[in-house]
Amino acid sequence: MTPDAIPQTGGYMVAAYIVAAVILLGYTVVLWRRGSAKLKS
């Protein structure tokens, strides 16, 4: 059988961490801007 090598799955980790960050930061920006918008009369 194959030797005990650790699978090279780093790409997925990077992708996931980036996607998560983009979504959370994106939502933060959305909220920030809505919080700064002028009050509706």
Binding site: Y17, L24, G35, L39
Partner: protein, 218 residues
């Protein structure tokens, strides 16, 4: 300090801490032998799922309180929590398949967890679509509360049914995922991440609630 500002502060701190979690998870937490680096997705995926569930639970709770006490603040809070929950669900739904692909060999599978996450996402979306489609605020609040409560009661049934289904139809597993609770370093990273994601939930909800309050358009 206004409520919006308070929310922003909490969010900012939470995001900073999230950066810390990222560093800790990537650099200072040991790599798991059987799954490789992809296992580290856990530290983001699982806490975001927790935040989404927390959000849904809060929607349900606030909905019950609204129907009982008729206080529009509860409705406003429910609305805020639903939107925040959607964001966390999205994180959950994207990081999940990215973990599943290398580990199970497939992007998606109808197992208990993934199906539940997808249904939760649909519930959040449905809840907000409903809110958007009702003009009268009083009616909107009541309708939303009804859906919110039903959604909350539904969760255990979804989990049960899919779990029951999956125990009878075992999935082929390409790499067998081990429980990440063994080494203490991993546990600490996971638990810290839970705390940070909870704080982030709070920060988001406070901001969103404050925005709803301001615009009177929850």
């Amino acid at each position: 300090m206004t409520l919006v500002q308070r929310g922003r502060w909490i969010t900012a701190i939470a995001l900073l801490l999230l950066g810390g979690i990222y560093v800790r998870a990537i650099v200072y937490t040991p790599e798991e032998r059987l799954q490789g680096l992809a296992q580290k997705i856990y530290y983001v995926h699982v806490p975001s799922a927790w935040s989404a569930m927390l959000a849904m639970g809060m929607v349900g709770l606030a909905s019950i309180l609204f129907l009982l006490l008729k206080d529009p603040r509860y409705d406003r809070f429910a609305s805020a929590s639903a939107e925040v929950g959607t964001a966390f669900s999205l994180v959950m739904l994207t990081t999940g398949p990215l973990w599943a692909r290398p580990i199970w060999g497939t992007w998606w599978t109808w197992d208990a967890r993934l199906t539940l996450t997808l249904m939760m996402f649909f519930m959040f979306i449905g809840y907000q679509v409903l809110r958007g489609a009702v003009a009268d605020p009083g009616l909107r609040a009541r309708y939303a509360a009804v859906v919110g409560i039903c959604g909350l009661v539904l969760l255990p049934f979804i989990h049960l049914s899919v779990y029951l289904f999956r125990t009878l139809h075992p999935m082929p597993i390409v790499l067998k995922p081990s429980a990440p609770s063994a080494p203490p370093a991993m546990v600490i990273t996971l638990l810290s991440s839970f705390a940070v994601f909870t704080l982030l939930y709070v920060g988001f909800v406070v901001q969103r609630y404050a925005i709803g309050e301001r615009t009177h358009d929850a």
